[in-house]
Amino acid sequence: MVENGKSVILQVQDLETQFSTPDGTVHAVNGISFDLKEGETLGVVGESGCGKSVTMLSALRLIPMPPGKIVGGQVFFQGQDLLKMSKEEIRHVRGAQISMIFQDPMTSLNPVLTIGKQMTEPLLLHLGMKMEQAEARAAELLTMVGISDAVQHLSDYPHQFSGGMRQRVMIAMSLACNPQILIADEPTTALDVTIQAQIADLVRRLRDDLGMAVIWITHDLGVVAGFAERVLVMYAGFIVENAPVVELYENPMHPYTAALLRSLPRVDGSSIGQKLEVIEGLPPALLEKPMACPFAPRCKFVQEKCLNENPPLQEWSSEHHVACWVDMSTGELR
């Protein structure tokens, strides 16, 4: 499939994931659809519990089942539905063609195996390399992510590395098989701000050099601003807005996006002296599938219709999609 000259490489349709918990079924992802184009950088933002990580984990079938369950939807990658593949088939996609890096570099490496052992594993498994070849490639990858003396570091254990270096190792591992898609799940959240800048810079450079598509999941609207081409805003397991990055920040059309942007202080000092905008209340617990707009109880523009019907994600322009009944500029229904 081709759109605007670039082909779509990952297509998620009506994805729905639930978790059974002692309190009842949690509706974590409630029918999400989006496309990822070749070489595109897609930012996914939202607060904790909004379903941004679960969406990506579901797409790769990485959620623990049970308690998790993918109840519906399709995820097309190269014409095949990842959700219908056998375990063997999806293992060849994961790590090889689509790879993922996680939030916490402290826990996503195995503490009792050397860096070399962990780095060569995908090379031996997916590419069928010989040990010597794999070690040379591992050293090359470490050099690529900015770790000097790579050959010596291969015999080190993860505890000998700092947080920033561990995240570099994770990135090197994820690049091992030249993936077409890199999914980064809050890769800089656990890191300090100067290290955060290093890692973001590294991923940006690798993306440009290797031409892969990147999905960057984060709660930090600042990181996304400098990085993504298009942004999905998630709330309560729904995509509430999907727009190109400049358009989203300049002309947010969902009240949640708009409020979120106004609740942030600016390092340039333009928010001083003003009260920060507050979004009253809390996100819903999702023990029932929302029938009304999930943001309605916290929304300033709420109308009768919002309390009865959940707005679908509608096309406002060909690039800008929003799930809201109300036009914020007038406060009236669209």
Binding site: H219, L221, G222, A225, G226, R266, V267, G269, L276
Partner: protein, 326 residues
């Protein structure tokens, strides 16, 4: 705003010993968490304290309140020296100086009700009768916008933002005039952070509180602080009025830190030039010689490796510790 200092810190140092041996412990070194820092906090102001994890900002806050005994140096509250005060005097002092902790999940006892958590400081200081205390707790809950009917609930029944409000109510119970806010919003979601920050600002206005606001979020610190101090590896490297520090940072570390903060505006963000620091923060158990930042500094010269930079006033009210800054 007056300019009398409420808190004065002189050459404060806190080293944590590194020991070896199980039965006979031998001291083999020290983590220099805070090393020879001096500053003042003026009555009614908010002093922001920023830096990366492990730079000693929380240790500074806690040592200041004597929750850690300082290795050396002095801390004054008004004219009373806290660092040598007896336990009895210190206990009295704690009415005036309080703290709000970072993690609202770990800093509230899960087996105590909200009412008893907030009343505990009142009980310890023998203030009022049981009934009066109950009244006061309700008043405090209302003050932080929690429903006073929640008095018999337990912490797990509240969200992160609400728990942090309970922490704020507890800190306010004794009507202190100085509060150390130790990363009070780091554990909260973006939309909830603004709620807590606005609450802290309102309370400051109402009661004339003085804050030491410890954080690593530079945008939030700019929003809430009057003056800002920047720490690196146990040292304060720069201290200035808020706008002066953000508009005209003198220390290369401050410059790098500010340029690393992402701005939520794609047009501006893409035009910015970043100073990206190489490498990681060195270990405070074995800090670099001379200026502690010289190993990562983009403009370091020979002198930086040899000598400690002097803590000097470069422009009026703008203090910096760097050989090369003008």
């Amino acid at each position: 705003m007056t300019t009398t200092p409420l808190i004065r810190v002189e050459n404060l140092t806190k080293h944590f010993p590194i020991t070896r041996g199980i039965i006979v412990q031998k001291e083999v070194g020290a983590v220099q968490a805070v090393d020879d820092i001096s500053f003042e906090i003026i009555q009614g102001e908010t002093l922001g304290l920023v830096g990366e994890s492990g730079c000693g900002k929380s240790t500074t806050g806690r040592t200041l309140l004597q929750l850690h005994k300082p290795t050396s140096g002095k801390v004054f509250y008004k004219d009373i020296e806290l660092s040598t005060a007896s336990n009895a005097v210190m206990r009295e002092m704690r009415r005036n100086i309080q703290i709000i902790f970072q993690d609202p999940y770990a800093s509230l006892n899960p087996r105590m009700t909200v009412g008893s958590i907030v009343a505990e400081p009142l009980e310890i200081h023998n203030i009022g009768t049981a009934a009066e205390r109950q009244e006061r707790v309700k008043e405090l809950l209302e003050l932080v916008s929690l429903n006073p009917h929640f008095i018999n609930r337990y912490p797990h029944e509240f969200s992160g933002g609400q728990r942090q409000r309970i922490g704020v109510a507890r800190a306010l119970a004794l009507q202190p005039d100085f509060i150390v806010c130790d990363e009070p919003i780091s554990a909260l979601d973006v939309s909830i952070q603004a709620q807590v920050v606005n609450l802290l600002e309102e309370l400051q206005e109402e009661f004339g509180l003085t804050y030491l606001f410890i954080a690593h979020d530079l945008s939030m610190v700019r929003h809430i602080s009057d003056r800002v101090a920047v720490m690196y590896l146990g040292k304060i490297v720069e201290l200035a009025a808020r706008d002066e520090l953000y508009e005209n940072p003198l220390h290369p570390y401050t410059q790098a830190l500010l340029s690393a903060v992402p701005i939520p505006d794609p047009v501006l963000e893409r035009k910015r030039k970043r100073v990206i620091l190489e490498g990681d923060v060195p270990s405070p158990a074995n800090p670099p010689s001379g200026c502690r930042f010289h190993t990562r500094c983009p403009i370091a010269e020979a002198v930086c490796k040899e000598e400690h930079p002097e803590w000097r006033e470069a422009v009026e009210g703008h203090w910096v510790a760097c050989h090369l800054a003008k």
